[in-house]
Amino acid sequence: MLWSALVGTIEQGLVYGIMALGVYLTFRVLDFPDLTVDGSFPLGAAVAAKIIADGGNPFWGVCLAIVAGCAAGLITGVLNAKLKISGLLSGILTMTALYSVNLRIMGRANIPLLRKPTVINWFGQYGLTPWMFFIVVLILTKLLLDTFLKTEVGFALRATGDNEQMPRSCGVSTDSMKLLGLSLSNALVALSGALVAQYQGFADVGMGIGTVVAGLASVIVGQALVRVNGLGWATLGAIVGSIVYRLAIFGALRLGLEPTDLRLITAVLVVIALSGPSLQSIWEKYLRGKDHAADIPTL
């Protein structure tokens, strides 16, 4: 019982890990706080579920979900890079609009996928359990992402997230890089959404709420656990973080917390993790302030 629950938790960590890689790409590589994710995750789920429920090929559904995620990211990118709306607001606008779009796609608030052919069932025929399948997808995605970040475009993308003046003076259009990064990231997020819908057996309009924060928590937890510098390690960190995050939730639930409390806990976790450096400097300032009288100005 416990064992199968644990396996289920790890499977969740793996499948949401693809989303965490997407969040890593925007938040860490591109340094762009992209909230589109809360909309593109259910978008991927909606597109795949709609196609599967209508008797379509589930692989086709996953492909279209990826394309839809790409488009969602592109819209946020255009809002920000071309129309000069702030990054946060651009994401919020796309996310809000996507709520309506997702309802339109699904035609109702929830699509059940029980006893429908899914990609997970398909691989199941060949003896591939969900976690094996997710691991394969996740590792392929990770390796592709790592390799991409070592190409010329990957360099340009990373430089854009680091210091926009540098790529621009090297002849790179930072606007294009933002569009590219956002669409790639949201493609990954939508892929994750499409697989989650098939894994849990339904798509729901509300399933996107809190996705960004969960992804961010995974990236941050992973960063804290995998403390090796280098690109390959950072993406591995996001994956490990995603699994650890799901395990932590699992533990919290077993300790008797209500599932409805989880978002609060996740948010608090992320706040603590993000504010670590500033809390530290506030504390140091306070200490310095205390013995200020003894300070003699020096050069």
Binding site: R158, P167, S169, T174
Partner: protein, 264 residues
Amino acid sequence: MLRISQLCKIFTSGNGMEQTALDCVDLHVGPGDFVTIIGSNGAGKSTLLNAVAGVYGVEQGRIWIEGQDVTLWPEHRRAALIGRVFQDPMIGTAASMTIEENLAMALKRGCRPGLRFGVNQQNREHFQELLSLLDLGLENRLKEPVGLLSGGQRQALTLLMATVSSPKILLLDEHTAALDPKTAEQIGELTRKIVASRRLTALMVTHNLQDALEFGNRTLMMDRGNVILDVRNPRRAKMTVDDLLEQFASLRGKRLLDDRALLA
């Protein structure tokens, strides 16, 4: 090489106040010219360099580089023709990327980035050769993030990055001002060396009047958006800092108590 005609740049502040930063500037810089630019704070020196680099559009006038009208080109497109070093050593490089990754991007300046690997072994040998010219030991630190370097080392790297693909024009905006005197001198020497060996056309803004006369072959003095003095060698070779100050005072039309403080 660089031709600027009737270039005007007006900044409008939030409350609608207009500030003319460039007032119909005409300038022609021939190939191989190394021009130093001096002028008091707010004279428009940085604005001139930024306008050439395409950081912002201009209200009026045209800019040609090697005969091409680049006035409407966006900054990243002009970057194919222009190398830049900024006053702030942090701006020219990407701190989280390694030395070789930074150099690789500079080497590809102006080419559309593709899906090839960003650095290969051949690049590495080339980079090591280039870095050894700096004499800072960076040739053995190719895989270290640039964020670990000192300001002077980063500025040297930026200078190398700005010149590695032989730009048509090199723009230097007080690129030694944020460094300690000794490092500033080293970067200055390096600038001289690189510009000479690659026969670059360069514009260098400086507040050091001595440097302004010692570097390059031509000196411009700017004031309130205008070029008020333009001297070349051999006339320039005979000028002293005091001559420059005198010129400044008379061209500005009034005797200022301390021009030296104003210019420097």
